[in-house]
């Protein structure tokens, strides 16, 4: 059975929107980081769906999967750096709530 590309795109759109909403509405930094990962994976799903639909009508198209591999790599780096920053933040504030980041304003 073959899932149509449109369905994959709709799924990716839903995942991306959920991630974006999570990012904007939640205040726990860990959940915010997870939301960003969700958005990145929505992009990966889209890349793979695109690669499949182009490969099925023309020559094998690997641009998408390669892009997705790089995205996974970068997502790992971002997660490492993000958690390091969250830990540094926690050490100072004893909290992982974004509301605690209120030193700079004006």
């Amino acid at each position: 059975m073959n899932v149509p590309t449109e369905h994959l795109l709709i799924l990716a759109g839903i995942l991306f929107s959920l991630g974006a909403l999570g990012f904007l509405l939640r205040s726990n930094l860990i959940v915010i980081l997870a939301s960003v990962e969700l958005m990145l994976n929505a992009a990966n799903l889209t890349f793979l769906a695109g690669a499949r639909s182009h490969s099925s009508v023309g020559p094998l198209n690997l641009d998408g999967p390669i892009f997705a591999l790089f995205v996974i790599l970068v997502a790992a780096c971002e997660a490492a750096l993000g958690l390091a920053l969250v830990i540094a933040f926690y050490r100072q504030k004893q909290s992982v709530d974004i509301e605690a980041a209120a030193e700079l304003k004006g």
Partner: protein
């Protein structure tokens, strides 16, 4: 059957790979990539130098050597015909070379201001600091040279990840960690938008190569809703990096909380790198978006200038001023879209952007650098109160700062004025006179706060107890400030000479 197709394709891919390897080793690609390679090698060397005993003395040598090599190679590329290497994934032209030169010089200046700034503090992490700085600069070069979306994305991350950690570099301080965290979160959010946009564009077209996309966008692909949504999301991701309305809210916090030399690098380099990609990639937006882009540009100028008017912290004020300047350069994007992507207009817009960013480099680096110098006397020097009567204590510093403020405000005989003039002339040529007038009016508002700094320095009496403290000015920082002053004046008085270089 499937297996034989796969073998055939594998064989074809191998031949292509072989061709690309030949391309690399023939020297064309290696020479084209030199400005990038010099910095990447410098960054890796820095990691090595940092762990050998007594290597700390070699640190400045590595930084200066790799930045100067990069600048020299970029200088040599200016004026050479445009070419694409590595299978079209990397482009070299006068414009990319000039941008690379701007980045290398900007990073060098920022690093020099850092010498005095970090004196006696955070020394144990200076190796990491310099390595991250070189790496970020390498990322900027990759961004403007990118021939496809993947290379641009990698450049963007090589730039951004080091900058997130550098923003949080003063890690004992709450404001620095907060700046790093905010920068990181919003940067990752924007990167996700960029990626999802790129993925949608890929789904609609089947390629991520900019040249192929440009020719496909001439046809009906440009009308497909997936490509349109993808283009909008991708642009939103980049707009965050150039800090235009409504993606500008992070800028003041991040600029204020970061170490001042790093703020310098962010203000000049990141923005220029993102614009260096935006202009060649402007075809991703339909011509119908002209009005929206012009509105975004004007709103950015308004948000930046009105935000700056009420600030008392000068570092934060300059952050808002940076937003306003990004808005002015965004007007160039509107010009390109209004012309329907005409290649002559695009080239001229590229030159205007380059000129503007070069002038902004000297002005903004000088201004932030002077703040970094003054900050050593105490953090109150970053506020308007601290600057009171500065001219009586330090006439040279106040004089240089005055020139930078005049250039930021766009007063004639400075580089900032010529940059603005160039942008507004493009607008008038494209018959966007209403936009030009609104933009000029918004620039006038900006004079309100630039002049306030000048008046505070020259006309107000010294604050109490301010006479005693005078941190010594280091020689390298004075030289760099002198170069910035010279740059601002040369660009203001002899703009033709610089434009002639670009052809």
């Amino acid at each position: 059957m499937i297996a034989s197709i796969m073998i055939q394709e594998a064989a074809q891919a191998t031949t292509e790979l072989q061709a690309q390897f030949n391309d690399v080793f023939s020297g064309g690609a290696a020479a084209a990539l030199m400005p990038f390679t010099a910095l990447a090698v410098g960054a890796l060397l820095m990691l090595l130098v940092d762990i050998i005993k007594g290597g700390a003395k070699l640190r400045p040598v590595v930084v200066i050597a790799s930045l100067l090599t990069s600048a020299f190679c970029a200088w040599n590329q200016i004026g050479e015909p445009a070419s694409a290497v590595l299978g079209g994934t990397y482009l070299v032209s006068s414009a990319t070379a000039a941008f690379s030169l701007i980045f290398a010089i900007g990073a060098l200046f920022a690093w020099v201001y850092g010498i005095g700034y970090y004196e006696g503090k955070l020394q144990e992490f200076r190796g990491e600091h310099d390595m991250l700085m070189l790496s970020a600069t390498a990322g900027m070069i990759l961004m403007v040279g990118a021939g496809d979306l993947l290379v641009f994305f990698i450049g963007l991350e090589i730039l951004s990840l080091p900058l997130y950690s550098l923003a949080a570099f003063r890690r004992a301080r709450h404001d620095s960690i907060e700046a790093g965290l905010k920068y990181f979160l919003l940067g990752a959010f924007a990167a996700a938008f960029f990626l999802f946009g790129a993925a949608l564009i890929y789904t609609a077209t089947g390629t991520v190569n900019l040249a192929e996309l440009a020719s496909l966008y001439q046809g009906e692909v440009a009308q497909s809703p997936i490509a349109l949504i993808g283009g909008a999301l991708l642009m939103a991701g980049i707009f965050f990096k150039v800090s235009v309305f409504p993606f500008h809210l992070w800028v003041p916090d991040v600029y204020q909380g970061s170490p001042t030399p790093i703020t310098t690098l962010m203000a000049t380099g990141t923005k220029a790198a993102a614009f260096g990609f935006l202009i060649p990639a402007s075809f991703l937006l339909p011509p119908a978006a002209t009005g929206i882009i012009a509105a975004i540009a004007l709103l950015t100028m308004a948000a930046g200038n009105l935000g700056a008017l009420v600030q008392t912290n000068v570092k934060r004020m300059l952050a808002y001023s940076g937003i306003a300047h990004a808005g002015t350069v965004m007007l160039v994007m509107a010009v390109i879209l209004a012309s329907g992507g005409d290649s002559d207009v695009r080239d001229e817009s590229m030159n205007a952007t380059l000129f503007y960013m070069a002038a902004y480099l000297f002005t903004s680096t000088g201004a932030f650098g002077l703040l970094a110098m003054l900050e050593r006397e105490g953090e109150h020097m970053l506020t308007l109160n601290g600057l009171r009567g500065l001219a009586r204590r330090r006439p040279a510093v106040a004089g240089a700062m005055t020139l930078f403020m005049l250039s930021l405000g766009g007063i004639p005989a400075t580089g900032g004025f010529m940059g603005k003039l160039y942008v507004f002339m493009l607008l008038v040529k494209q018959d966007m006179i209403a936009v030009a007038i609104l933009g000029a009016l918004l620039s006038v508002i900006a004079l309100g706060y630039y002049l306030r700094i000048i008046v505070t320095m020259w006309m107000e009496p010294l604050g109490e107890g301010e006479e005693a403290k005078l941190a010594p000015v280091t020689l390298p920082a004075s030289i760099v400030t002198g170069l910035c002053v010279a740059g601002v004046l040369v660009m203001g008085l002899m703009p033709g000479w610089l434009l002639g270089l670009l052809g």
